[in-house]
């Protein structure tokens, strides 16, 4: 009981995730800045931002729904942290696992997007409502490729459990190379889930001010930003567990370092992606995802089925 509680709340649960999320945010912002020929923030900037936001007043618009307004950031953070306990990190067993937990993890990662929509909707501000609608529209575009991409390695492994996938690839190391197309698809779809350029349409500052979070300030905004940071780490950890499942048999310390390395590698890829492209328009994004991303995910699915049928009867 004590072990479970400390795992969930401290390591590798809430506290570890929050700090690791802030480290990942720093890596992302520093790389983004250096690629743009700028200096970039110091290492403690995300922590400083969080503390500053906690110290500010929460201003809630008079017409907004107060209880919902206050509850949504907490719900978002909770969902994201909960999904982390099912992801195998540096061993082939996650904290908790059961057959079908890959679906649960993906659905838990959808909950923050829904809270973003509700947050914008209940703000009753025009810009927030527009941002909320865009969040949902974007969800319909990237969710299917993301699902299909993550399920392809599961098909090869023959199990719906993330720990089961990790165990399978631990025993058959080289099969992860066949999933590289799915990896590319999921990287692009993850960029959409995390609402970063080129898919930061719900938060397009030059069009709809703050998007979903226009009316949020103070501690509630701090929690939402923490959710986004943790979502970055959880998404990267999910991708690394499913697509980069090597080295999982190493002893604890080396395995932990390898895990950090893999997650930060994915964060670096996402940061470079953010630097080199402009923002899409929502209709272009939907068209791109359904015309190119979903078919690519389908191709990966076909490859996985072929491998499963031919090589692993």
């Amino acid at each position: 009981m004590g072990y479970a509680l400390s795992s969930i709340l401290i390591f590798p649960g809430l506290l570890f995730l929050c700090f690791f999320g802030m480290v990942a945010e720093f890596v992302d912002r520093k790389l983004y800045a250096r690629l743009q020929n700028r200096v970039g923030p110091p290492w403690f900037q995300p922590e400083a931002d969080f503390i500053k936001l906690l110290a500010k007043e929460d201003i809630i618009p008079a017409e907004a729904d107060h209880p919902m307004f206050k509850v949504l950031p907490v719900v978002a953070l909770t969902a994201v942290v909960t999904s982390f306990v099912y992801i195998p990190l540096w061993s082939t067993r996650a904290l908790f696992s059961f057959d079908g937990d890959v679906i649960v993890v993906i659905y838990l990662l959808t909950v923050p997007t829904l809270t973003f929509f509700l947050a914008g909707w209940y703000s009753t501000s025009l810009f927030a409502a527009l941002g909320a609608v865009r969040t949902l529209t974007q969800l319909f575009a990237y969710e299917v490729p993301l699902f299909m991409g993550i399920l392809s390695p599961a098909i090869v492994a023959g199990t719906w459990s993330l720990s089961g996938i990790a165990q399978f690839y631990g025993m058959h190391p080289l099969y992860w190379i066949a999933n590289l197309l799915g990896f590319a698809v999921c990287l692009v779809a993850l960029q959409g889930k995390l609402e970063r350029i080129p898919f930061d349409i719900p938060d397009a500052e030059t069009e709809i001010v703050g998007g979903t979070f226009t009316e949020y300030s103070g501690r509630l905004l701090a929690l939402f930003r923490m959710t986004i940071d943790v979502e970055l780490v959880v998404g990267a950890a999910l991708l690394s567990a499913v697509f980069l499942p090597f080295g999982l048999g190493l002893p604890a310390a080396a395995g932990f370092v390898l895990f950090l390395f893999k997650v930060l590698f994915i964060v670096v890829l996402l940061a470079v992606f953010r630097t080199v492209v402009a923002r899409f328009r929502i209709d272009q994004m939907v068209e791109f995802c359904w015309k190119y991303l979903a078919p690519a995910a389908l191709v990966q699915l076909v490859i996985s089925l072929a491998i499963k049928g031919v090589m692993l009867p």
Binding site: Q36, D200, A278, R279
Partner: protein, 404 residues
């Protein structure tokens, strides 16, 4: 969602200066644009009537930060024409030099803003880093990064030394390299093309009909450029191309401005090679004789019109400024037809708006009776006092104006 009206402005991250654009949208499509200008009106034309010509020059220069030299030169050209002054050749060349450097500054700034409006912050950072080269050159030549103060009635105030000429040529070489990179970027980058092509279309006929000027008109294949059509300063002795483009959309406007950057590099090199020797100013009288003059100047944003009427005293009788953005902003509503909400920032930014230049009071029209007329100073003040009493409950009638 039913039709919603979003107020873009007066404060909005998309706008660098306050103006009000009420966009009516159905979903994400723009249905109608209603623009209300005037938030940046500062009474400059009236203020000019109460200052000497040299004081006016300082004021006119500060109408805008990035077109400051354009306004100052246009004003000074007007006054020199009224006074019948013959400005020395060297002064004309150096005025043109600063004008072209300002054009490069403005276009690089614009490139960055365009990148920012479409979410491409990397382009913003790169363009503004290169803009620092121009700003350093201008600071070395004139002492200021904006608002150069190089003009005076009858010529210029500071000379260019041979060492500075060498510096300028080095800077221009760097900028030409970087501009070639931006041209390549504009033609090859996929996401840039997605956001810019077929956005904000303005056909050639519409551009001419709505009176668009500058790069906006030239990108719609309207071949007009004041530097060639009505040469001023040193332009009649220079060899340069007028860049037009047939795309008629935002992408065309990008190409025109980047092309003009290359042309400016060429022009600056010609100017420095043929810089004539001689004095830099003639003495101008304090009292400018009776007369009126109109000048046109090709500012980075388009045709800038100035009118000055002198009445024999040391203060002008009337100064009128018609900035290029006033001509271009009428075309924005037409450009936005059939576009998306997400296109509004880039379409507006592609006209390179400078609302500080634009806001002058022209004509008032009573909305119910339809009578058009010009209010004089006393009537305007009385109207303002009454409006605030009625709508805001404030009584300003006892504030005394400072009279000269």
């Amino acid at each position: 969602m039913a039709n919603v009206t979003i107020p873009i402005g007066p404060q909005h991250p998309a706008l660098k200066e306050p103006e009000r654009f009420d966009l009516t949208i159905a979903g994400e499509r723009i249905v109608r644009l209603n623009s209300k200008l005037g938030y940046n009106h500062r009474g400059i034309e009236k203020a000019c009537e109460q200052r000497t010509y040299i004081n006016c020059l300082y004021l006119i220069e500060r109408i805008c930060g990035i077109c400051s030299h354009s306004h100052a030169t246009a004003f000074v050209q007007c006054v020199e024409e009224v006074a019948g002054l013959q400005v020395p050749k060297r002064a004309l060349y150096i005025r043109t030099l600063i004008g072209e450097l300002e054009r490069m500054h403005s276009h690089l700034l614009w490139l960055g803003i365009a990148g920012h409006e479409i979410g491409f912050d990397t382009l913003l950072m790169y363009a503004w880093r290169d803009r620092e080269v121009v700003l350093d050159l201008l600071a070395a030549l004139t002492g200021n990064r904006v608002n150069y103060g190089i003009n005076t009635i009858g010529g210029i105030r500071r000379d260019v030394s041979p060492e500075e000429v060498v510096e300028i040529l080095k800077g221009v070489d760097i900028l030409e390299e970087r501009t070639k990179y931006y041209i390549q970027l504009a033609s090859e980058d996929m996401t840039l093309a997605e956001r810019l092509v077929s956005v904000g279309s303005l056909s050639t006929a519409d551009a001419a009909r709505l009176g668009a000027v500058g790069p906006v008109a030239r990108a719609s294949n309207v071949d007009q450029d004041v530097r060639r059509d009505d040469p001023y300063a040193a332009y009649n002795e220079l060899d340069f191309k007028v860049i037009t483009d047939t795309h008629c959309d935002v992408y065309g406007r990008v190409l025109v401005r980047v092309g003009e950057l290359m042309e400016s590099c060429k022009i600056i090199r010609q100017l420095l090679k043929n810089l004539p020797e001689g004095p830099i100013a003639v003495k101008a009288p304090r009292k400018i004789p009776v007369g009126e003059a109109v000048t046109r100047y090709e500012a980075p944003r388009g045709e800038d019109l100035h009118y000055v009427r002198g009445n024999g005293t040391e203060m002008p009788e009337r100064v009128k400024v018609r900035a290029p953005t006033l001509a271009n902003v009428q075309a924005v509503a037409k450009m936005l037809e059939n576009n998306y909400l997400a296109d509004f920032p880039i379409v507006l930014a592609a006209t390179d708006p400078c609302f500080s230049c634009t806001d002058r009071v022209i004509v008032t029209r009573e909305s119910d009776s339809g009578n058009a007329g010009v209010m004089d100073w006393k009537a305007l003040r009385a109207y303002g006092i009454e409006w605030y009493k009625k709508n805001r409950g404030l009584d300003c009638s006892r504030i005394k104006l400072r009279s000269r």
